[in-house]
């Protein structure tokens, strides 16, 4: 039964998945377990996306279904049962760059896999990254970018984090269209991730440390 919701969501069967959630809630099941199944379903969607079996609209659709499930389950959640988060991650598209698709996918997958994500949006000034790291005490930072202009912005952002004395407190990953290992080394980041699944893997590795 528990497995069914995972796979039904993974197969993007909206009506069936919502029906299952309703049935399980009516049967008095622990809402946290339902949410956990839903998350695992979306994780499979993410995996299929990274295997090119699924496409961007599939991913967006799974997010919409998950949102509906969360809304159904939420009233049943007691405060004590709030979902435990793995850790905090600050993510943004660096200054001068306005591409958001890849960044949004990374934010989505980090969120679904249990991270608390602070999405700073696009064209993010370096100071905004620094301020958010200070404010939240996040241990992981994700820098996204697509344009050639983003290489320097990434380096500037890492530099500003260092200057603020926060470099030892955070692990920094970069990703996006033209990024690679060479850009990572130029920018002084800790890792390059080729897709959202990579970002999740990196963040998990660092936070478990």
């Amino acid at each position: 039964m528990a497995k069914d919701l995972v796979n039904t969501l993974a197969d993007l069967k909206e009506k069936e998945a919502l029906g299952m959630v309703q049935d399980r809630l009516s049967a008095g099941e622990d809402p946290l377990r339902i949410l956990d199944d839903a998350r695992r379903g979306v994780e499979i969607v993410g995996k299929r996306f990274s295997d090119e079996e699924y496409f961007i609209p599939d991913l967006v659709y799974s997010g919409e279904i998950l949102k509906q499930i969360t809304d159904m389950v939420k009233p049943k959640l007691t405060k004590a049962a709030e979902v435990k988060r793995l850790g905090k991650v600050v993510v943004g598209t660096v200054a001068g760059d306005i591409h958001d698709i890849g960044k949004d996918i990374v934010v989505f997958m980090l969120d679904v896999t249990g991270f608390e994500v602070f999405d700073l949006g696009i064209d993010v000034p370096v100071q905004k990254f620094v301020d958010k790291i200070k404010e939240t005490g996040s241990g992981v930072v994700g820098l996204s970018g697509f344009l050639t202009l983003a290489f320097q912005s990434m380096k500037d952002t890492v530099g500003a984090i260092e200057k603020a004395g926060l470099r030892n407190q955070v692990k920094i990953m970069i990703g996006g269209g033209q990024m690679d290992e060479q850009v990572r080394s130029f920018a002084g980041a800790d890792a390059y991730g080729k897709d959202a699944m990579d970002a999740v893997k990196l963040a998990k590795g660092w936070i478990r440390g």
Binding site: I56, P57, M179
Partner: protein, 286 residues
């Protein structure tokens, strides 16, 4: 409104009474690892090959961009432009985010090129427009300003007004401005295609400038991209674009069909010629 772009030996006219002009997009390392690696080594052989194959596929103009990590564009862009000029006789579209690299390439170009691009951002208007004027080029304006790319057609129209005004006061004729309405991926935002079509109509009606469109982005993240790209270019042509930045080999058949349907291919000469070529590919290639 007619925009003329030229190499030493060829002139391409962009405008309503003419077939849709196709700018070949493939000399651009964005998203192409092999080309990125080659450019980092300063190896321009792939650039030359792409120039030839796009010319053969029927491109009217070639975009030339070498922007990738580890490349000094100020040095490499003029070299790439020079090589492409020596390889094919098509007019070029000089593509860089860096005005210094644009200028270095404009210096070696012979004829009247397109510059890709200026945006509505202050730093861009201030640095790119004087170059366009000084070198007698035409320019592609992107509907983006210091606030980003607006998600509605009214604000994109407002940025276009600003670009046209600023270009004209910098001494650039309106006929030398092509506006690109900027296409987002429909896979991520289902409204992005219709916004572009709507914006094209509005800009055309109010400002009368020629419009170009980097069309391939529409299909990002979706399967069977060429099918979507073809449908989109046909719709964009119907809405009023007179020029497209595309993978020419991929969408040319759809462009010819759309041109014919919109009355831009008298007696279907181009459409039928392309059909005949497809029937006898081997002979034609010899």
């Amino acid at each position: 409104m007619e925009t003329g772009i030229s190499s030493i030996t060829r002139e391409v006219i962009i405008g309503d009474g003419h077939p849709t002009a196709l700018i070949g997009e493939r000399i651009n390392p964005a998203g192409r690892k092999k080309l990125q690696e080659a450019l980092k080594r300063g190896d321009l052989e792939m650039v030359q090959r792409e120039a030839l194959s796009q010319a053969e596929a029927g491109a009217d103009i070639l975009d030339v961009s070498v922007g990738t990590f580890g490349v000094d564009e100020v040095k490499l862009l003029p070299e790439a432009v020079q090589l492409v000029i020596e390889t094919v006789d098509l007019p070029l579209c000089i593509d860089s985010a860096y005005p210094k690299a644009m200028e270095a390439a404009l210096k070696v170009y012979k004829g009247k090129p397109l510059v890709n691009s200026v945006t509505g951002e202050e730093h861009s208007l201030a640095r790119v427009l004087p170059l366009v004027k000084d070198y007698g080029a035409a320019v592609i304006g992107l509907v983006q300003d210091d606030e980003g790319i607006p998600k509605n057609s009214e604000r994109r129209l407002a940025i276009t007004r600003k670009i046209v005004e600023r270009a004209e006061s910098a001494g650039i004729s309106r006929r030398d401005i092509l506006i690109d309405c900027l296409t987002f991926a429909v896979g991520a935002d289902p409204t992005s295609g219709s916004i572009v079509i709507d914006t094209i109509r509005k800009i055309k009606a109010e400002l009368g400038v020629n419009l170009t469109l980097g069309a391939s982005n529409v299909s990002f993240g979706l399967p069977d991209r060429s099918l979507l790209n073809k449908a989109f270019v046909a719709m964009a042509i119907a809405a009023g674009v007179t020029c497209l930045i595309v993978d020419v080999a991929q969408v040319q058949s759809a462009v010819l069909a759309a041109d014919l349907i919109m009355g831009r291919d008298r007696r279907a000469r181009r459409y039928i010629e392309a059909y005949r070529q497809r029937q006898t590919p081997h002979e034609q290639k010899e």
